[in-house]
Amino acid sequence: MAKKFMYMNTKAPYGTIYALESLEVVLIGAAFEQDVSLAFIDDGVYQLTKGQNTDGIGMKNFSPTYSALGDYDVNKIYVEKESLEERGLTLDDLQHLTWEDEDEDWAEKDSIKLVSRAELADILDDQDVVLSF
């Protein structure tokens, strides 16, 4: 039986490597056919900002990879509302991530779900394995 895997992202991109190496785990993990979710809270919400351009810092811009997650059947992406608001951001500041639902004639659907802290607590409660980054 598939386990519920939650990737919990709490850190900003570039300042530390956790965001990038978390994404590497998610991509590898997608091949294992488990029930995968990603959560972004605290500074983790910064990972999803639009318009990242790393030309000036000499580091690799890995933000385009998030838009490929849908192709890997990773489409449950939870962003905590409180974390976003505290940072002066809205959903419009984040990338628009989508996936195509095979069961509904490949209809394009949003991958990101904005959830309250209380809703996220319930989602977390339901997981079998939490990977923290």
């Binding site: 386990k3 895997f5 490597i17 956790y18 190496e21 590497e24 785990v25 590898i28 993990g29 091949a31 294992f32 488990q34 394995v129 939490v130 990977l131 923290s132």
Partner: protein
């Protein structure tokens, strides 16, 4: 129970590596099974055999090597993280054209799939990091 342990930080810099070791030792002493210890991020640096800590301090790598021998532990160093940080075994050194290798006895280098597998196969994945 069947446990796996993930270690995300290097030796000495953060206590995470020490806590993981103390936890692993206690779990084994209580008769629990450790399916795998997975070293990720800077955690791969725990696997170097070139460290020479002060004589009155613990040798973190040696502690793992000894525990591995005693309990036949599966100590896995993530290859992607290791390549970035300069941890390699003999085979990898050959493949990459490097003139030296630095991995300690008892550790093996493998892919991230080993972490996912540990999550699937174990009752609990316990993470130590920063």
């Amino acid at each position: 129970m069947k446990l796996s342990i993930q270690i995300n930080e290097g030796p000495y810099q953060h206590q995470a590596a020490d806590s993981a070791y103390q936890f692993a030792k206690a779990a084994l002493a209580k008769g629990h099974e450790i399916f795998r210890v997975f070293f990720y991020h800077d955690g791969v640096n725990n696997a170097t055999r070139l460290a020479v800590p002060p004589q009155d301090d613990r040798n973190i790598t040696q502690q793992w090597t000894d525990l591995q021998k005693e309990h036949d532990l599966d100590l896995v160093v993530c290859i992607a993280a290791a390549q970035r940080r300069g941890l390699m075994d003999e085979d990898e050194a050959k493949r990459q054209g490097k003139d030296a290798n630095n991995i300690a006895e008892g550790f093996r280098i493998s892919g991230l799939g080993q972490l996912i597998e540990a999550g699937i196969e174990s009752d609990h994945l316990v993470t130590f990091g920063a």
